[in-house]
């Protein structure tokens, strides 16, 4: 059982507040989805959890299994079992997927790394994700379509076997078929590994494949409302504006905080 705990986190960049007293706890086996308007700090949240030092933590805590991870480097956090599937994965010129994947998996598994089982698992996962087997010889994300980049993130997730998965808009740039494949594969991995998942998304479609138990609405750097899938229905019908303007009580949703603009 693993727990990622974010407590009262306030984060700035160049003096501008992006996250404001943000709190959230994710446990193994739980799927959380965060939705919210653009520029509200959703992506920043995932980057700060992962340790991106472009942001400054003003106050608050990030704990993984009780340990304060704020001082840990990005790679140390990854090696604890936290994985971030990025919105815009970077292309790396001159480094083939084969070399890259072998490097990251062998770094994680150290002396337990064995080439043959690695290749076997790689081939199987590439097929499962309906990816072009030749991608393995191409440079990391170089010339990849939006869909290929996102599938490549999920491939890395499968190979690294993380316990806590953060997926930042993993559905953006995906066509209907790829969305289904990505969604079903994330769910399959979650069921098999019992990992905790934090999904950042704008769309309901992804949540039809990866069903979250908890849905949070984020505005102005904090969660303003938490609930279940009924909250997604409400947002689809009414947009975020109404939530910002008035407190709504829908079904079983628990109103945590209302945006300060109210």
């Amino acid at each position: 059982m693993h727990t990622l705990e974010i407590k009262d986190l306030t984060v700035t960049i160049d003096g501008k507040e992006i996250l404001s007293h943000f709190s959230l706890t994710i446990k193994s086996g739980e799927i959380h989805a965060i939705m919210g308007p653009n520029g509200t700090g959703k992506s920043t949240l995932t980057k700060v959890i992962m340790g991106n030092d472009s942001y400054h933590i003003e106050s608050g805590e990030i704990r993984y299994d009780g340990e304060d991870i704020r001082k840990l480097s990005v790679s140390e956090r990854a090696n604890l079992g936290i994985f971030l599937g990025m919105q815009s994965p970077i292309a790396i010129e001159g480094v083939s997927n084969a070399d890259f994947l072998r490097t990251i998996v062998s770094t994680k598994e150290k002396e337990n790394f064995k080439l043959f089982p690695f290749i076997k698992e790689l081939d199987k996962t590439i097929e499962q994700l309906n990816m072009d087997p030749d991608m393995i010889h191409r440079d990391v994300n170089q010339g990849f379509s939006g869909g290929e980049r996102k599938k490549s993130e999920i491939l890395q997730m499968y190979l690294l076997k993380p316990d806590m998965v953060l997926l930042d808009e993993i559905d953006s740039g995906l066509d209907v078929d790829s969305l289904k494949i990505v969604g079903e594969n994330v769910t399959a991995y979650q069921k098999q590994s019992k990992c905790g998942v934090l999904l950042i998304t704008h769309y309901r479609r992804l949540l039809e494949y990866i069903k979250p138990k908890f849905v949070h609405i984020m505005m102005n750097g904090r969660i303003v409302q938490s609930g279940g899938m009924e909250l997604v229905d409400y947002i689809e019908k009414n947009g975020y504006e109404k939530i910002e303007k008035k407190q709504v009580g829908i079904g079983t949703c628990i109103v945590k905080e209302i945006a300060r603009h109210e």
């Binding site: 980057k47 992962m50 480097s73 990005v74 790679s75 990854a78 990025m86 994965p89 790396i92 480094v95």
Partner: protein, 263 residues
Amino acid sequence: MNKIKVVEETVESKLSKKISFTVKEAKSELEISELTIQIVKDSDLELDFSCTSKKWKINVEVLSDVHSQFYVYQKAENSKIQYNLKIHSNASLQLFKFQMNANKEMMEVRLLGEGASIDYFLKDIAFDKETMDYYIFHDAPRTSSNIKNNVVTTQKGRAVLQVSTFIPKGMKECIANQTNRIINNNEMKNEIRPNLYIEEYDVTANHSALIGRFREEELFYLESRGIDEQQASRLLLEGFLLSDVTNKKMRKEILKSTKKEWR
């Protein structure tokens, strides 16, 4: 693979009939040795200048309709080499060059006939001052040049890279690309001078220049996969120097050098 190895003033070779060469030895200290290579049929050639610190002038001529690949190694300290490359109509030359240490070189490329093209890829680890001065002349219409220089500086290394492309009036439908990048791993001053002297309207020309370090988001991406900063930087460096190079020997040589310098 055809091979020419230059050891100080002498030339050792292992060549097929597709390539002919002549050598003019320097008679005095002030004189420059000269190697003239003619590519008669489609072929590849490895040119090794890693064992000479003498001044050399290399003349290469690729005849019409001939396609050739060159793999050049230049790892001696303080080498001074001048290249004159002549490419005739519908001929192409792909030149991959891996160089290290400190070099001073001048290269003149003449695209002499319609359809002539050059693809030039420089992979350079500068340990001391490197000066590269390249001139590319589009002497015929529909010629193409693609010049891609990737330089990494380390220790006392710094680079001055001047690339000048000339397309005179009347040389229609030429394509000229220049990509010049210097990744500096030290605090030394580097320079890129990209020049495009174009007198014709009907051409496609691009250039990009970068002096700096790898981007934070590139390192963040790699580190988020569990590899530390040092390993992530080395991976980016290797990728920077290996990109476009498919030749196994050259890839091996580059990796050997990066592993030695960035353990």
